[in-house]
Every structure is written in structure tokens, then in C-alpha cells.
């Protein structure tokens, strides 16, 4: 795309009072943003309001489009305009697409399936587990993961994807050079290296509350399936889901227990007809259907990571097995006491005391100290994991 044209686009984009609709109108009226930039006062006022016009005048006085584009590019940020060939096809097809996006890193590739993983900022251990496992497995299969890099499910999924060597893209509610939440700086850098940071806001934009609902539109727009992991009844996640439905995207939901507040939003979606997802394979099949892929591309990611993921999934399956068909642990010998403790552990973290009570109820005898020692033994054998003093099956 013509550089002067691109610069003019970015320059108009930066002006706060000019929205995407106005920009498309300018395009229609003048044929190009460069023309709009050079247009006379009279011509401009046909499209712009008085307030917008004075903003444009002030901006003209402040900086030239070419200088602005250079300044942005110096920070390693690209501007991609709607009329550009590389503008994501998926985004083009949504209602009210952004006139352009700023990108640090790369854009998601259109031919590769993409899943948006979204959910509560204050998630539970269950949500964390599911997000990590799904993101890891999807990444290993080469699926791109789109999310908002918010605290909780968003960042957990993206971090797991980065760890598994996959591509993940974060759509921010601030400028792409503003890392919000601040404490996720490491993740921010990782994503900008392996995937990309995307925003429809000009660099330098603060993470204002009103920026977030529109960015959710882009998250769903860039993906093929929106996967909701945990959501309360009233939540920002549900805004994204609304946008996704408006855009005609498939909404998939991880169910929880009906008593959990954090799954109430998910269950509401299920009632309304969202697809229930209970394992990664099912999600992959769904993706395959939607993307009309013959064979899932499943490009191999770095072999080490695949291995890691495989071993993890093996463990998970293994866990299920241990419950159904008695205890069979990689042919490892464990004492009957440890076996009895393993029998009362669950996939959800439980406090040592709860485990102890359950253990006693099953007719075992022993002191609390013995149970603690046993739990540590299991942890050392990698058969159970602990978080603070809560334990679960690995």
C-alpha cells in the first residue's frame, strides 16, 4: 500500500474525535485519506462536524502524517489499514470493522484456525487448570490463540500457549505500546515476540474502561471459535460472546458445576444453545468443521514442547484410568497407605483437613500427621500436587 496513504490513515486514526465511521465516510468522499488530508476546509466540513474539523486543524499544525508514521514505526509498531492487502480477512467481515489496527509483532494468519479463549479475571483453580491444558494442547496442534491479555483466564491461556511454543495474539484496550495490566510485562514481551499485540487504538492510548467493549469485538472477530472458560452471570466475557454471535462466530463453553458462581455465565450460554466442550479433541473437531479443513494442519511445533504436552495429557488420561480401573500407576509400586490416600484425592484442590476427613470416613485409621507425610510422599512421586495446603491429583 502507498506509504503516504498509510501515513495519512494512521494520522487520522490518531485523532480522538474521529471515529471509524467518519474515516470510512472520508474515504468515500475523497477516495483516499491522502486526498482527505489535503482537502479544503469547505470540502472537509461536508463530512466533519465543527469539533472534528478543529481537531483536524490542530493536528495538522502539530505533526505531519509522514513524521507520525515514522515515529510509530520507530517503536516497532506497524499500522495496517482496512484497504491494505494484509488486513485480516476475518476482521474485514465483521460489522463495523476498525479502519485500521496497530500491531506490534505479527497478525494472526487467516488460513490457520484461531480460537479466542476468554473468561473471568478472578478465576478458580478449575478454570486455571482447564485454561492451561486447553491452551497448551491447542498450541501444540498449531491453533492460534486470541485473547485480551487480561488478568485471569486470558493471560493464563496466553502464557500457556507461549510456553508450549504456539502463536498467541493479544488484543488490547490500550495502545499497543502500553502494557496493561502492568505486572504482565513479561507475557507482553513474549507475546510480541512469538505472536502479536494488536490494538485499534493509537499508540499511547491509556487503558480506559470504555475502550474494552470495542476491543472484545476484535477478539471475537479475529477468531473462528470463541471458547468461554469461566464467567459470572454479569461479566465482560459475555459482552465478547454477544459480539461473537453478532459476527456469526461459533461460541463454545466449558461447563462447570451448577453451584459455582464462576460457571453461572457459562451455563446461561449453554441454555441459550452454545456448544458444550468437554475435551480438547471435541474442540478440534469443531474447528475442523468450521474451517472446512480436510486434514487439520497440525503443523509440528518444537518437538520438545510437544513432548511436554503429550506427557501432560498422558497424565490426565492416566488419572481417569486410576479412578475407573483401580490403581495402576505406570507399573510403579506404592504402599497400600499411599494408595488409600490417593483414592480420596480429587481433581479439584481440597484442604488437607478435608482429605483427612474423607480418608477417615473410608475406614482408614491414622493420625493427621501420617496423612500429611503421605501426601508429601505422593507429591514427591508426582502423583499429587499441592497449592498452599490444598491437594489434588496431578
Amino acid at each position: 500500500m502507498d506509504r503516504t496513504e498509510l501515513a495519512a490513515g494512521a494520522w487520522f486514526h490518531k485523532i480522538n474525535s474521529i471515529g471509524f465511521r467518519t474515516m470510512f465516510q472520508l474515504m468515500e468522499r475523497f477516495g483516499s485519506m491522502q486526498e482527505a488530508y489535503e482537502a479544503t476546509e469547505k470540502a472537509l466540513l461536508e463530512v466533519l462536524s465543527g469539533r472534528q474539523f478543529s481537531a483536524v486543524k490542530a493536528a495538522k499544525y502539530a505533526m505531519h502524517p509522514k513524521d507520525y508514521l515514522e515515529q510509530v514505526e520507530e517503536k516497532g509498531i506497524r499500522y495496517i489499514c482496512f484497504y491494505d492487502d494484509i488486513y485480516p480477512e476475518k476482521l474485514k467481515n465483521i460489522p463495523d470493522p476498525p479502519f485500521g489496527v496497530f500491531v506490534k509483532g505479527s497478525l494472526p494468519r487467516g488460513e490457520v484456525p484461531a480460537v479466542a479463549m476468554i473468561g473471568s479475571r478472578a478465576c478458580s483453580d478449575y478454570g486455571r487448570n482447564v485454561a492451561e491444558v486447553f491452551a497448551g494442547e491447542l498450541a501444540a496442534k498449531g491453533v492460534q490463540i486470541i485473547s485480551g491479555m487480561a488478568r485471569g483466564i486470558d493471560s493464563i491461556s496466553q502464557a500457556a500457549c507461549v510456553k508450549a511454543g504456539g502463536q498467541t495474539y493479544a488484543v488490547l484496550g490500550s495502545g499497543v505500546d502500553v502494557c496493561y495490566p502492568e505486572e504482565l510485562y513479561r507475557l507482553y514481551t513474549d507475546i510480541s515476540k512469538s505472536g502479536g499485540i494488536i490494538s485499534s487504538y493509537a499508540p499511547g492510548m491509556e487503558p480506559l474502561a470504555r475502550n474494552f467493549p470495542p476491543r472484545n469485538r476484535i477478539i471475537s472477530g479475529l477468531s473462528d471459535v470463541v471458547l468461554v472458560i469461566e464467567s459470572r452471570k454479569k461479566s465482560g466475557t459475555l459482552i465478547t460472546v454477544d459480539m461473537a454471535l453478532e459476527q456469526g462466530k461459533e461460541v463454545a463453553v466449558i461447563p462447570g458445576r451448577i453451584t459455582d458462581e464462576l460457571s453461572k455465565g457459562c451455563h446461561e450460554l449453554i441454555k441459550q444453545g452454545a456448544t458444550v466442550i468437554s475435551d480438547v479433541e471435541q474442540l478440534l473437531e469443531l474447528l475442523q468443521d468450521i474451517c472446512k479443513l480436510q486434514n487439520f494442519p497440525m503443523k509440528s511445533v518444537q518437538s520438545e514442547n510437544v513432548h511436554l504436552e503429550n506427557s501432560q495429557s498422558e497424565n490426565i488420561q492416566h488419572g481417569y484410568k486410576s479412578e475407573s480401573s483401580g490403581i495402576h500407576l505406570n507399573n510403579r509400586e506404592i504402599s497400600p497407605e499411599l494408595k488409600s490416600i490417593l483414592g480420596v484425592l480429587d481433581y479439584e484442590y481440597a484442604e488437607a483437613e478435608k482429605v483427612y476427613e474423607k480418608w477417615l470416613q473410608q475406614g482408614n485409621k491414622g493420625s493427621f500427621q501420617e496423612l500429611l507425610t503421605g501426601l508429601m510422599d505422593l507429591e514427591l512421586m508426582d502423583l499429587c500436587k499441592s497449592n498452599k495446603n490444598r491437594f489434588s491429583i496431578r
Binding site: P181, L262, Q369, K388
Partner: protein, 511 residues
């Protein structure tokens, strides 16, 4: 005529004898007082004049000079009223044939001649006995406190006339006798708070037991209503009963702080201090122009419970660092440095998050960030000095109603006593008292591992990604657990249990 009476004063925790010199000579009738005194000491002049008038004795028209020596020491308080008054009477020869050798007088005067209680009686009487004095006359309010010291005659007096009668031999008053053992026994038999009242919470109970046995500092984390305060309150009850020596040490601090009265004249039970989180720095460590002992000194050899730990002002918590290390607190003022004992067991309690209900996501909406920020308010260096951490959970109604027999404090205390005995033997002559005191350089020496335990420790270290500090804490706690079982060497299971009480929040904050 010149006369010299012995009295006493406190300089921090140290008692000193004060010579009250009074001279009466001919000249203009003035009443001069010298000897580096603060305002309230000088006020004695007025109190004495009126008090003497009211008991029917006039101050004769002589030139009276009072000197409190040693003059280099700053004198504070009202305890010199009585010796000065008697000195004046003797010097002016208003009373005669008094026996003042080897006698210590102390007390504040009221305008009607009444004698009121003062602070620091216990350490002063103790010091008087060590200096070879035979008799002390103390306010009746404080007499039990004084009588705690044996080998010296302690008289309780309520009026200046009684003092005159005793000194001139007209009174048949007898020294106050106190059966210390009996008082102790009475107090010990009435333990009111017992661990058997707490249902469930095995982990916290066990942590409390280990803490009491090894004098480890303990952190309890749990939602509101989990019973953090209940657990903490019962810890003094499972610690070894106070020995006479310890009781004396603690009582001395209380005496100096003015916390003893006729109702409670010495400390027979381990105190439990639970200051509100708005406490100031000087209330915590001691303060004032002439520093008084703070809460940490009142918790000497006992439990200091800080509920809502993250809510305490940062500086109030930071000042605990030095006392936790040195077991004493030093407060410097321009005139002197005051040292108070502060060998306390810190039991801190905190909610797991700002709303208090994490990890119950049905109630808690705090984000991970909120939680880290909340726990991050707890000072890292203080957490580093705490050996045990226990996360508690909310108790549900079934558990509250269950009638299952819980272990009572006495059987826990018996195990603790056994562990303490082992430690006393081990640490004889080393300056340490408990496993919690062991400094890192001595850990190898005292925390000996059984064969095979080394591998367990190594595996745990890797698996749990321990830091060097948490490694030390783990060993100290394992040592105490082994002591509770009477094992000479630490075995793998002791280490594994200890690992369950590790300071997980530190790992989280650092990671």
C-alpha cells in the same frame, strides 16, 4: 542534723538504690530539693508539707535541703515522697529512735498522709535483697509484688503514721508473707481455654503444638470465622507452665510498666497480648520520653498475637525485626539507652485476600493481583523470621455440631513439655533455649538427619523449589517435630510433615 534514707528507682529494667539525704540546719526556713529531678519529684515538697501537717506534724522552721544521690541519674516519678517525708522528720528531730539501717522506703504520699502504689516494686525489692538490705516498706497496694521476693522482710503500709510506728518500734506489724507456690498452683488449675473446644482444624492445631514446643513464630491464614483467634488464644495454655524464674522476669517487666496491682501482683500465667492493628510504633516496642516497656516486652516469654496482620502500619511491623533477632529491644534516648526483654512468640493472623474468602470462588471476587497486593503488605523480612505457616479453611455447620472428641490442651501440653525438656538438655550452656532460636550457622550442628533423610530433604528442596532460608526453616521445624516424638535424629517423615507448614506465601510473593 543530717540523715540518709535508702530508696530505689528504675532505670529501664535495671533497679538502682537511691540515697535520700536530708539536712536540717539553722537559717532561713526554706525547703530545697536537688539531685537531677523531674517535675513530679519536685512536687513532693508540697505533698509532704501538707501531709505532715494533716497528721499533726509541723515542718519546723529550719533550712531543709534534700539531695537524691547519685545525682547524675535522672529521677522520675513519685516514689520518693515517703523517704523524703521520713527524712525530713528525722533530720528535724520530730521523731527519734528510728531504725533506718538496711531499710528501704518507697511510696507516693497523698495530702492526708495516705501511701499510694508506685511502679517497679518487684525489681527494686529484688535488687534491695541482692544489696543485702533487711527490710523494705512498700505501699500496701504493691506488697504482694514485693513479697514475691523471699529472704527480705517486706511490709505493706497504707499510711505515713504506720511507717513512723514501724520505724520507731511502736507497731507490732509483721512482714507480709506470701505462699508463692500455692498461688501458682491455684492459677495453674484454672486453665479456662482448651483446645478441645475447637472442632477440626487439625492442621492449625498441630502447627500451634509445634510452635509452642519449639517457640517458633507462626502465621495463620484463613477466612473470617475459621478460628484463627481461637487457636492463637489457646497457645499459652499448651506452653510449659511458667517457672518461678520466668515469672519473676515477666513480672518485673509488668512492674516497670505499672501493670501490676493488688489484684494481680505478679504474673503466674503466660500472657497473651493482642494489640489492635492501629497500635503505634512506640506502643509496640516501648516509648515515651522515659521509655516504658511496649507490647513486645509485655509479651516476653509469651505470645504476641497480631490479628489482621496486613492491616498493621508498615513501620510498626518493621520495628519488630531487631527484637525478633536479639530477643531484647533497645530504645535510645539522649540520656540513656533503655533495654527491655522481648523474647516473644509472634503469632500473626491474616485473611487470605481483601474480602477474606479466597479460594472459595463463590464468595471471593478478588483478582490474583488483589490477593498478591494484600499479602504483599506483610513485610517480607518478618515472614522470613517466621518458621511455620498454616492455611486454615472455613468450618461448616456439621463440623461445628459434631461431637467428636477433640484432644484437650493438657495432653498436647504433655507432648510439648517432653519436647521442651529435650531442648533444654540439648541447649544447656549454649545460649539457645528453643529450636526456634537456632541461628543458620548452627543448624547443621543441631539438626542431625537420620540416614536416608538427606535424600528426602534433597528431593523436597528441588520439588518445592525452596530458598536457602526456607530450607533452614524447614530443618528447624523438623527438629521440633522430631523432639515431639522424642527422636534424636530427624527422619524423612519429620521433614515431610514440616514441609506442609512451609511459608508458601513467601514463595508466591518472591516467585
Amino acid at each position: 542534723m543530717y540523715t540518709n534514707i535508702i530508696s530505689g528507682a528504675m532505670k529501664g529494667m535495671e533497679a538502682v538504690l537511691i540515697q535520700v539525704e536530708v539536712d536540717a540546719s539553722f537559717g532561713l526556713p526554706v525547703f530545697d530539693m536537688v539531685g537531677n529531678m523531674s517535675g513530679e519529684v519536685k512536687e513532693a515538697r508540697e505533698r509532704i508539707r501538707i501531709a505532715l501537717k494533716n497528721i499533726g506534724m509541723q515542718i519546723p522552721n529550719l533550712r531543709l535541703t534534700v539531695n537524691l544521690s547519685p545525682a547524675r541519674l535522672r529521677k522520675e516519678g513519685t516514689a520518693f515522697d515517703l523517704p523524703i517525708a521520713i527524712g525530713v522528720l528525722v533530720a528535724a528531730e520530730s521523731i527519734s529512735a528510728v531504725e533506718l539501717d538496711n531499710v528501704l522506703l518507697i511510696g507516693e504520699l497523698g495530702l492526708n498522709g495516705e501511701i499510694k502504689g508506685v511502679k517497679g516494686i518487684l525489681p527494686i525489692v529484688k535488687h534491695a535483697k541482692e544489696c543485702g538490705l533487711k527490710r523494705v516498706l512498700v505501699p500496701r497496694e504493691n506488697v504482694k509484688e514485693g513479697a514475691f521476693i523471699r529472704g527480705i522482710e517486706v511490709y505493706g503500709v497504707a499510711h505515713i503514721q504506720e511507717v513512723i510506728d514501724i520505724l520507731t518500734g511502736k507497731s507490732s506489724a509483721q512482714p507480709y508473707l506470701l505462699d508463692v507456690e500455692r498461688v501458682f498452683a491455684e492459677f495453674h488449675s484454672s486453665q479456662e481455654r482448651d483446645f478441645k473446644e475447637i472442632q477440626g482444624q487439625y492442621m492449625a492445631k498441630r502447627a500451634a503444638e509445634i510452635a509452642a514446643a519449639g517457640f517458633h513464630h507462626l502465621l495463620l491464614i484463613g477466612p473470617p470465622g475459621a478460628g484463627k483467634t481461637m487457636i492463637a488464644r489457646r497457645i499459652p495454655g499448651i506452653m510449659p507452665p511458667l517457672s518461678l524464674e520466668e515469672s519473676m522476669e515477666i513480672s518485673a517487666v509488668y512492674s516497670v510498666a505499672g501493670k501490676l496491682d493488688s489484684m494481680q501482683s505478679f504474673i503466674t500465667r503466660r500472657p497473651f497480648l493482642y494489640p489492635h492493628h492501629t497500635i503505634s510504633e512506640s506502643a509496640m516496642v516501648g516509648g515515651g520520653r522515659v521509655p516504658r516497656p511496649g507490647i513486645i516486652s509485655l509479651a516476653h516469654r509469651a505470645v504476641l498475637f497480631l490479628d489482621e496482620f496486613p492491616e498493621f502500619q508498615r513501620n510498626v511491623i518493621e520495628v519488630l525485626r531487631q527484637p525478633m533477632e536479639d530477643k531484647v529491644v533497645q530504645i535510645a534516648r539522649s540520656q540513656a539507652v533503655y533495654t527491655y526483654p522481648a523474647d516473644f512468640m509472634l503469632v500473626a493472623a491474616s485473611n487470605p485476600c481483601p474480602c477474606g474468602y479466597f479460594p472459595d470462588r463463590n464468595k471471593c471476587k478478588c483478582t490474583e493481583q488483589d490477593i498478591l497486593k494484600y499479602l504483599g503488605k506483610i513485610s517480607g523480612p518478618i515472614l522470613d523470621r517466621m518458621d511455620l505457616c498454616c492455611e486454615m479453611r472455613a468450618i461448616n455447620i456439621e463440623e461445628l455440631q459434631s461431637e467428636s472428641g477433640e484432644e484437650d490442651s493438657e495432653s498436647i501440653r504433655n507432648r510439648v513439655l517432653q519436647a521442651v525438656e529435650i531442648q533444654t538438655k540439648r541447649f544447656r550452656g549454649t545460649g539457645y533455649r528453643f529450636n526456634g532460636d537456632i541461628s543458620p550457622r548452627d543448624i547443621k550442628k543441631y539438626c542431625r538427619l537420620e540416614e536416608g533423610a538427606e535424600t528426602v530433604l534433597h528431593k523436597l528442596y528441588e520439588k518445592l523449589k525452596l530458598s536457602a532460608r526456607s530450607y533452614h526453616r524447614l530443618l528447624k521445624v523438623s527438629r521440633t517435630i522430631a523432639d515431639l516424638e522424642g527422636c534424636a535424629l530427624i527422619s524423612g517423615k519429620h521433614i515431610k510433615e514440616a514441609a506442609c507448614y512451609r511459608m508458601t506465601i513467601l514463595e508466591e510473593l518472591e516467585g
